[in-house]
Symmetry: C2
């Protein structure tokens, strides 16, 4: 993993988009694709695509483009998606429930395996075919199942505490949907996903 | 707007994050902030912050940093958030309902003003204090209320059709939560927001 460490986050974020596209091509029995075609279909610059992919090796075949199955296999391996990645989610409000429900159908490799909530009224409910567990059970679950990734969908004021508990339990990568900044040690990766800031950024293009 | 057109999307996406941070400082009666402090608090490179902000003008005061109120006012104006931006949402599943509910409390300037769904069973329901309207009412609503931004939270197979209807009605900016690519004319801006690709990108950091 070390040799990849300087790869910009923006490049990493594009890899799953390439992967999903390649999987769609594969489902249509398409065997090769050019960076030009990828760029057209994905609304991205073909030169950017070639540059992104060249970081990880030489996948192109001159005059033919990329072999769909080779490239998707390689991307899956780079992203660590060749095995199942167990994820926990904390906070079963509307958004948390929606993510659990959606995840059942959409994510073969990144899978929410357990959900937790601090409210006694939520504990024992079923979301996305999982029974909500109390926060006290989180640490044991994370350690026994070697979970490294967590999703936070609690209100802002609870987000930091939940993040701290996750990190103490052994979580190293957090996807945070609470609209607030959480502070974490430098060895923990946090990605903030906030619809409000997305909408605000988009309003620039109006 | 023309003079800003070459600003990279990644810079635009950081502006709402700066803005939210500045609003938090303002609520704590902080009057000035250095790029160093901003960088520490936001987990960003201070040089990157200075570079981002310098695109839009010279906001810093030597030895003092940025004036919080001036900078937040300027960012709000750059993003077009000094007025209310009406938004419609199509697709009242779990995710759509969660976004409507959440938006009521979080977004003073980017506001979901109406929701639509193609399923008769959803029409007439109330989400986030709005009554779900049938798709046939969308075009009139968009035109009468000069709505330019739309959120898509329908299943993948319905996303393109909904996007086409939005664009025909006059929508020019779309936030798409359906896990599929939608094709739009070059004058329409689409931002894809997909939890699965976010989780897949994050798995790289495990």
């Amino acid at each position: 993993m070390d040799k990849y460490q300087k790869i910009p986050d923006v490049v990493i974020k594009r890899l799953p988009i390439y992967l999903r596209y390649l999987d769609q091509l594969s489902a249509m029995d398409v065997e090769t694709v050019s960076s030009q075609q990828m760029g057209d279909d994905l609304n991205l610059n073909p030169a950017q695509i070639r540059k992104d992919l060249s970081i990880f090796g030489d996948f192109g075949v001159k005059g033919m483009g990329y072999r769909v199955s080779d490239l998707s296999e390689k991307l899956r391996s780079i992203l660590g998606l060749d095995k199942e990645i167990p994820i926990i989610l904390v906070g079963v409000g509307n958004l948390g429930a929606a993510l659990c429900q959606y995840n059942r159908y959409q994510s073969p490799s990144t899978r929410i395996v357990s959900v937790f909530d601090g409210h006694p009224s939520k504990v024992g409910q079923t979301v996305g075919s999982m029974v909500v567990k109390p926060m006290e059970d989180m640490e044991d679950f994370v350690q026994q199942n070697k979970v490294k990734m967590g999703i936070i969908t609690v209100p802002s004021q609870a987000a930091q505490k939940v993040a701290d508990q996750m990190i103490e339990s052994g979580i190293t990568v957090i996807l945070n949907f609470a609209p607030t900044l959480i502070h974490v040690p430098s060895n923990v990766k946090v990605q903030n996903s906030d619809v409000t800031t997305e909408l605000q950024a988009l309003s620039y293009y109006l």
